[in-house]
Amino acid sequence: MGNWDWQVFLQDTGGGQTYLQWLMSAWGWTLSVALLALIVSLVLGSLVGILRTLPNKVLAYLGETWVELFRNVPLLVQLFIWYHVIPTMFLSLRAVPSFVLVVFALGFFTSARIAEQVKAGINALPKGQRYAGLAMGLTLPQTYRYVLLPMAFRIIVPPLTSESMNIIKNSSVAFAVSITELTMFAMQAQEETSRGIEIYLAVTGLYFVSAFSINRLALFLENKVRVPGMLGGGK
């Protein structure tokens, strides 16, 4: 095991690029899948989370169903449904590249977890805030927009941060539908070069760097949006 061979990254893959260049493009795929899925999941998750706190029972029930559905099926199985089942159901989706399907699979899966956080954030606020908003003559949407959501989202920045880091990790399932992201790169390059340890170390390192950067970014954001005098702020 002792002898390293990092020069493996300068070898040609046979396709006119070095393994280092391939590694970097794989990192790019991982980041794009993760970031786009994060956007999808934030939008959907916020909507579903809000639905679950509405006084309308039907809408709240719809939200609950959404969460249970996407939380109780493994991500990999959901990905296969998106990849193998949905395009046969809707023929117009046949032309959609698998990259987009992965973004949706990961985004929908994570939206259930984000909806859970959003609901918890809204319910963490004192009930009086909602009543105060309505008593002042704001409509229900206005109460959410100006009273509840600004506070709720600030409360849930820490759990959203860990969800964002999870999304980077979970994007690794994309290997199963042949997206050449980091995990796929690791599997293929390991097979081709037999320098598994060097390849895996590089890939693992990049996952670390990606997750850590998200963590720092979120911390910066958390400080930026903090309300003075609340939630441990008060600087």
Binding site: L69, P74, V77, A176, T183, A186, I197
Partner: protein, 223 residues
């Protein structure tokens, strides 16, 4: 929307030939990793709470490292490293069992750490005051309470673990998902089998999480 499902290939023979083996392995992997992970995780949690630097540091390193790597990569790492360390190839199934035990221990240890910290400090002092050793205090007073307080969270983590076992796909182990996939390829009915496996996972995980919710209410009343 067009969806012509044809489940006519599904007979008891098919079920027992393709699905049972996979289901048994998935359940086996979940149970072994749960028990091994909770035991190992409790030890790691005790190390982290010991206050001794030479115990805290390696335990924190273990947990933080495993928690920041995707599970698929951990599976690949172990599949690569175990043969290099023991000098012979290990089957995908055994490799998966070792990987999941080690990996889940990191997550269970965080739960157990929170559980131990949730036990009132006075309980520890009371243990010492009646002349118990550290080991006795932990074993007889703190850990049973911590375990009980955290039981719903530990079980929820186990449901996640059960879902995550599908990731052994990366090394080709024959689990629940693989069983359905192979059947789908054999009978040329991939759409039907992928839908069916999703339903199976959903039914198992949803019923388990309902049970956990009931348990949670029960425990909350007793406390």
């Amino acid at each position: 929307m067009n969806l012509n499902l044809d489940y006519s290939f599904l007979t008891w023979g098919v079920v027992s030939a393709f699905f049972t083996k996979g289901l048994i392995f998935s359940v086996q992997l979940t149970l072994v990793a749960m028990i091994g992970g909770i035991v190992l995780g409790t030890l790691i949690a005790l190390m982290r709470l010991s206050g001794k630097k030479w115990l805290v540091m390696p335990a924190a390193f273990y947990v933080n490292t495993l928690r920041s790597i995707p599970l698929v990569m951990v599976i690949l790492w172990f599949f690569l490293l175990i043969p290099l360390l023991i000098g012979r190839a290990l089957g995908t199934e055994l490799s998966a069992i070792i990987t999941f035990t080690v990996f889940e221990a990191a997550y269970y240890s965080e739960i157990m750490r929170a559980g131990i910290q949730s036990v009132a400090r006075g309980q520890v002092y009371a243990g010492y005051a009646v002349g118990m050793t550290y080991r006795q205090t932990m074993q007889l007073i703190v850990l049973p309470q911590a375990f009980r307080n955290m039981l719903p969270v530990l079980l929820t983590q186990t449901i996640i673990l059960f879902q995550d076992t599908s990731l052994v796909y990366a090394i080709g182990a024959y689990d629940l998902l693989k069983g359905f996939e192979v059947a789908g390829k054999n009978f040329n009915r991939p759409v039907e089998t992928y839908l069916a496996v999703a339903v199976v996972y959903f039914v198992i995980c949803f019923s388990l999480s309902m049970l956990v919710r009931r348990l949670q209410k029960k425990i909350a009343i007793i406390r």
